[in-house]
Amino acid sequence: MSRGIEIKNLSFAYDGQSILDGIDLSIERGAIVTMLGPNGCGKTTLLKTLNGLLRPKGGEVIVDGRAIDRMSPPEIARMMGHVPQGHRSSFPFTVLDIVLTGRLPHISTFSAPGERDEEVAKESLDLVGAGHLTQRPYTQISGGERQMVMIARALAQEPQFLLLDEPTSYLDFKNQIGVLKTVRKIADREGVTVIMTLHDPNHALAFSDHVVLLRKLDGKKPDGNGDGSHPHRANVVAFGPPFDVMTPMNIQEAYGMEVELVEHNGRRILLPL
């Protein structure tokens, strides 16, 4: 049985509009995998098909040898933590109350969280360095802290996989790096496989073990590839270690813009031309 996530010939359409097509990926355990691409390339959609929130039009997702569409939502939630994009709350729940909701897949229908759940929640908060926020109202902490809390909530699910949708959006520069460093730490120490979507190619370069570079489909039906310039209309431009994927050529292919790759003290940075 293969450990990790296998994506086989996955396609997805929304209202007849093809968003994803011909995606084949194999994600191994124990790494940070970043999905990168321009707006509308379907990276969030792809992330949501991984934990069954969206049902693909074709193909399948296999996690640790089991097809995702044969698993119940709580089963998936025990295996995969998920942090949706930019969350807000109308109610001033305490941070601990929020993180505790991550325990849902471990709690039977007619029960509420117990002591053990509270412990796990507090450990998760410590893990993301937000232990001091436990009793603070969620509505009164900063955007960066909120992101950490939502990551802690996903960690409270005790997952093997952590899916993060744009964990750096709406955050300032310092908070962006703070969140990504925390993600790195979680992946290294806890052995959690992180799959996230990002906007910034340099973040992808600096914090990923593998990068999936995606492009936007031109909107035609998957079988309507008439012009022949792209024999495979699949979304994936390249998949592999960041240095191999993030080449100016691939970036040009994905984003349609020219960039320059600069090396400094063994680190690489992409600069637009």
């Binding site: 934990n51 929130l53 119940s72 939502p73 709580p74 089963e75 998936i76 939630a77 025990r78 933590g81 998920h82 942090v83 949706p84 969350h87 807000r88 709350s89 109308s90 109610f91 001033p92 729940f93 305490t94 109350d97 929020i98 505790l100 909701t101 991550g102 849902l104 897949p105 229908t109 007619f110 509420a112 969280p113 009793q135 109202p137 509505t139 009164q140 909530r153 996903a154 699910q157």
Partner: protein, 350 residues
């Protein structure tokens, strides 16, 4: 958007030792007991506290030779009314808290899905047109029909977005208000008076039989919400956040709406439309204890009961004549609501 309401209170509670908060919760849980005892002492029939205690002892087998009318007043008039006020207060508060959680908004009431307009129409239909249909049953049925219609209207492809629910609630309310207007035009003046009086909400026709008929569904609805209350925390975070931890938000929305609507409909059916209780009580509790539904729901039951029965004491005894209790709750509630609206910037509606 940051919601700042009750911040000082909340911080005061959160920063203090656990025991203090625990004690305060305990106090609120016990509130119905003194409220009950006080309310049993109050009424327009002249009885002294000594006589009332004596009558209660008489119930236990000691014959103290009081006239039978004393017993009737205490056990057939005052007791059912006090218990009904407590039941209605609990129901409206709990269903209010549940609806606020479902709608992720602290400013919605149990009537948001057209429940009150449906009930008003049902009551008017019985009072003015279809006389063989008991008003309680008619009000109950039409309030559920209204909620069901609003829910059905808002549901597309198995999903019931909160914003669609709010809008369909507005539409259904408008439809039933129009139907109510038609009934009001058609009926005579005396029936019209009964309809208006019913709509203002009152407990003055409380009786054991009314209490018995509304209790089973009220209890079922409240218990359902009580047992599943922690899940309201998850629903209150949003559909995406619920899905991401493996909860089917549509299923739980439906469960909570059904439970809250059943309970609220059975309360409205016996007491008429009592305004703003379902809004104020959960709100006050949230200001003091925070939004965690594990605490909020049980406290809504007890504090709602205590609040309602004390307000009803005012309604039935303050001036010596009966004031519809719905008028008092609305007069108390409206300024409070206005304050909340400003303090929370429309309740953080997204």
């Amino acid at each position: 958007m940051k919601i700042e309401y009750g911040r000082r209170w909340q911080i005061a509670v959160h920063n203090s030792s656990f025991n203090y908060k625990g004690m305060l919760i305990g106090l609120f849980l016990l509130l119905p007991i003194p409220a009950f005892l006080i309310s049993m002492m109050i009424g327009t029939f002249p009885l002294t506290p000594g006589e009332i205690v004596g009558l209660m002892l008489a119930r236990l087998g000691m014959d103290l030779g009081y006239p039978s009318v004393y017993e009737t007043v205490i056990f057939q008039v005052r007791l059912p009314r006090v218990l009904m006020a407590m039941m209605v207060g609990s129901i409206l508060s709990v269903s209010g808290a549940a609806f606020q959680g479902i709608f992720r908004n602290p400013l919605v009431s149990p009537y948001i899905l057209g429940l009150s307009s449906g009930a008003a129409f049902g009551a008017a239909l019985s009072l003015g047109v279809i006389h063989w249909l008991p008003v309680q049953i008619s009000a109950f049925l039409f309030s559920l029909i209204a909620v069901g219609a609003a829910y059905f209207m808002a549901t597309t492809k198995g999903k019931t977005p909160v914003v669609s629910l709010v809008l369909s609630g507005v539409i259904i309310s408008a439809v039933f208000s129009a139907l109510l207007a038609i009934v009001q035009i058609a009926v005579d003046e005396k029936s019209l008076q009964s309809i208006v009086f019913w709509m203002m909400g009152s407990m003055n026709t409380a009786s054991w039989s009314k209490l018995e008929s509304s209790l089973p569904l009220a209890l079922a609805g409240c218990l359902g919400i009580l047992i599943l209350r922690w899940r309201l925390n998850i629903l209150a975070l949003g559909d995406e956040e619920a899905l991401s931890v493996g909860m089917n938000p549509e299923k739980y929305k439906a469960i909570f709406v059904v439970a809250a609507a059943l309970a609220a409909s059975s309360a409205v059916a016996v007491a008429g439309i009592i305004g703003l209780v379902g809004l104020i009580v959960p709100h006050m509790l949230r200001m003091i204890f925070g939004p965690d539904h594990r605490v909020l729901i049980p406290l809504s039951i007890t504090f709602g009961a205590a609040f309602m029965v004390l307000v009803d004491d005012l309604a039935r005894a303050a001036l010596g004549f009966e004031i519809p209790v719905g008028i008092i709750t609305t007069l108390i509630g409206a300024p409070f609501f206005a304050y909340l609206l400003r303090a929370t910037r429309a309740g953080g509606w997204e």
